[in-house]
């Protein structure tokens, strides 16, 4: 079966083009900035889905592509809120969440995913919300750093992906 994986790095490149990263000064295009913010979030989100799928099917890239569709925005967001103390985790997971939440590498990625998701929702749905070039580029940098961290995760960040697997699996 042919496959056309959603590549986070390509999404980041697209976001950079839309954000006018290499363009000079001038009047910003708000629509392009909205789409840049959205693509930046999706780059980070799809890097999460990739990591989760690799944990589940480490030896089968084809299965990984199928599994990535099961990872939801809600599951990623909820686990990030557990890890940053914004929401309480189920009691039986609290020892894991508390241990992983001590690692700044985990909490900074979780913070970024929460911030990028909320920005993406504003970019896509809030008609009153402008995104200027500076904020757009800052969010793009945040997404780049998040993708880079997820592509080479330390042990705690890798384990945090397991929490997303648990949350993605219905009880």
């Amino acid at each position: 079966m042919p496959s056309y994986p959603i590549d986070p790095n390509k999404l980041l490149e697209h976001a950079a083009q839309l954000a006018g990263e290499d363009a000079g000064r001038g009047r910003p295009s708000y629509t392009n900035h909205r789409r840049a913010v959205s693509s930046a979030y999706y780059a980070a989100f799809h890097q999460v889905t990739d990591q989760v799928a690799q944990r589940l099917f480490p030896d089968d890239p084809s299965f990984q592509l199928q599994a990535r569709r099961s990872v939801t925005h809600g599951a990623v967001s909820l686990v990030c809120r557990w890890l940053t103390g914004r929401a309480g985790a189920p009691q039986h997971l609290q020892p894991i969440v508390q241990a992983l939440g001590l690692d700044p590498a985990v909490t900074s990625v979780a913070d970024s995913l929460i911030g990028l998701k909320e920005a993406r929702e504003e970019a896509d749905y809030d008609h009153t919300r402008p995104f200027d070039k500076r904020e757009t580029l800052t969010l793009l940098e945040d997404a780049r750093a998040t993708v880079a961290s997820l592509q080479a995760p330390g042990p705690s960040l890798d384990q945090a992906m397991a929490l997303i697997v648990l949350k993605t699996t219905p009880r």
Binding site: E21, S29, Y30, T31, G74, R81, T84, G85, R86, A87, S108, D111, S112, I114, G115, E118, A119, E121, E122, Y125, H127, T128, R129, P130, D132, K133, R134, E135, L137, T138, E141, D142, A145
Partner: protein, 134 residues
Amino acid sequence: MAPHGQSFGYALKSSAGPPVVTSAKAIELGLGCGYACAMTTATKLEELRNQLVGKEVAGTAIVDARPELSETLDGEDLTRVRLVLSAPENDTWDLEVVHAARRLVEEEARKLELPNSFIRFSAEGDEDLEDVGI
């Protein structure tokens, strides 16, 4: 319900009368949520602003803060804060600044028992930028 200031007790009042610590400080001192719980939402938002403006995050000054209560697309309460920072030298703020700002705002919002926070970043001088619908 005790009026503002009375729940502090003598230890936090000057002999002249008015409280000598802010509400957030009272909470930080371990005096419980009594004062925050007695505050109106508007007062909490104002207090959040007071706690943020003038501070620095990773070497960048918080020039202004405009918090408001809102909600996410999923209907969860959210404290949206428009944070006006001193302009960076280059196109963007360092991620250190972004992360430190998120942590600070979340921490201060939590002390005041406000919902989870979300920051919109603006540079000093650009804060009144309006969308022109392009």
